[in-house]
Symmetry: C2
Subunit: 338 residues, 2 copies
């Protein structure tokens, strides 16, 4: 069902099983106790960074299946994407399966976009179980978007750290909490930010637009949610989001949490403005929030993942950074009754 | 509804309006009389090739709206993608609108993938009208995947020519023929082809798998369709597809047509194995097939767009080429009764 510009599924759909795997640095941050697995080897046993990211993603998907006692044949479709050119992180990971595949690109908003599309597959009866999967890897992102690692370039204080991380969640027509209820497809926002080392500032307006539209469409208030979680605005973008919404009369200060800010200890880990990458919000969703929704510690959350839709070339051509934010609402068993 | 591993929408959904724009070379080929517009200026009035492709895509979307007497506000979501790194061809085109956006990546299969997702948006009642849009540009693809144009590299006989072309179609809950009925989400096939100048060979197995699954799931035969249209197998991949299906006892010789082979006159235009690029099959679908379905010249077709999911880097890392084929079934008004 359509509500304004938002989406409500015809019934709640189970997030049947889910998993998160992260790299060593992510496994040393404040979230370290929540991930299913911390992998010390950044190559994940592979010969290059790109294959490493594919291995990370396919391992995370396999772990989500294992945790749900599922097999590949139980999954009708994988909806996946990543930051690597032509989304090869995902396509080479999915290649190992015989599962139908919808490739998506939403930069760091990919997990929310994938969950929305997987939810539509379930809602329309096109699938019994479909998976939303995404990943990022520090080293694939650095060499693609920035500098050779050995160059040792200085990072600005506003820069975020691309996480080596992956999250996978199986959406199912049957099963228990947590439940995906619907959400909001993002619009592109671009207020002219051209600093590629300040993605948080570029993405905050997109998050504000999507969250505001969803609250309006569902006639809900921030207090109706235990958490309004953004993906990867980091320590610079997060206060900007709160300011932008305050100017619209919406105060999310008490509910707002950001995956980019949660991932690292800024002081101890020298990560500057926080984490980023498709895998950042995906791993924190699957590692931290979904288990807490499973045991009713949270009852209702909004997961609003943000993405910066630039390429390595577009800023060199004088372009500003188009950004987007896709949102999904997730509830616990108790949350269904609220 | 799910039928085996295929998808059937709960009712036929209208392809309400559609448009195609191509470049000069495409406008000199056998399809020249079918496109809405042929643009002689390869820059489309922009400063660089990437902006040119975005302009081509946004112009094509605008033309689809105009032909349907629609405005941007009538469209609930744009589902779009392209070949440029991080899909900036699409995101910079969509940025000019205020329309929610789902970015997808399926390489040259993108039009079929976008139509399937747009169809699901309509089928679930999440949207009244959504657009599927894609593009490719010879010059953005050449400099990203191959060599600088001024290098003057020789192309092999198996190489395909990336088309400067775009197609846009509005899927709608209301309206007349042609109608999208459902389809089949592709699985990745990779038989080990490593020659990036022979995409047709790499993609043929993916097309065979998807077409075979759809025929089996719907219990139909090739003769039930006026055309089984593949996207961009070209002159090398097309006979391979027919052979692969013949080995499975399926003969599509009479029904098979390929957008890559249709686009150019191989002898006169020096394009070798045919056209390719997201815009190739999209522009031929929107320019040639959909009008013929509108006037019942065709009654039922399968549109099976194929994509090679490699990056410029993956073959250098010794990888073979993962390929995919997404399929949609489209019918005319008379086709509904068949």
């Amino acid at each position: 069902m359509r509500i304004g510009s938002s989406i409500a599924f015809s019934q709640p759909h189970s997030l049947y099983s889910f998993a998160s795997i992260v790299g060593q640095k992510e496994g040393e941050g404040p979230m370290k106790n929540y991930f299913d697995k911390i992998e010390a080897d950044p190559t994940f046993g592979e010969k290059n960074w790109e294959k490493a990211e594919s291995r990370l993603q396919s391992d995370t998907f396999a772990l989500a299946l294992q945790k749900g006692r599922l097999q590949q044949i139980d999954i009708d479709c994988i909806v996946a994407g990543d930051l690597i050119n032509q989304c090869t992180g995902s396509s080479f990971a999915v290649r190992e399966t015989k599962i139908p595949y919808l490739g998506v690109y939403g930069a760091c908003s990919t997990m929310a976009e994938s969950l929305l599309i997987a939810g539509m597959l379930i809602d329309g009866g096109f699938s019994g179980k479909s998976a939303a999967v995404t990943s990022s890897h520090f080293s694939t992102a650095e060499r693609q978007f920035r500098f050779p690692l050995s160059y040792g370039g200085q990072r600005t204080p506003t820069a975020q750290w691309t996480c080596t991380a992956s999250g996978a969640a199986v959406v199912s027509s049957e099963g228990g909490a947590p439940f995906i209820m619907g959400g909001c497809i993002g619009k592109i926002a671009d207020l002219g930010v051209t600093d590629t080392s300040n993605m948080g500032a570029a993405m905050a307006p997109a998050a504000a637009d999507t969250i505001m539209r969803y609250l309006q469409d569902t006639q809900t208030n921030p207090e109706d949610y235990d958490a309004i979680v953004t993906g990867d605005l980091g320590n610079i973008g997060s206060p900007l989001l709160i300011d932008l919404l305050l100017k619209q009369g919406i105060n999310i200060t008490a509910q707002h949490q950001d995956c980019g800010s949660l991932m690292f200890d800024e002081q101890k880990q020298d990560t500057h403005a926080g984490g980023s990458g498709c895998g950042c919000s995906a791993s924190i969703l699957c590692g931290y929030y979904l288990p807490k929704l499973q045991n009713n510690e949270f009852r209702k959350i909004l997961f609003a993942a943000t993405g910066a839709l630039l390429s390595a070339m577009s800023p060199q051509q004088g372009e500003s950074i188009p950004s987007i934010c896709h949102l999904v609402e997730i509830r616990s068993q108790e949350g269904l009754a609220c």
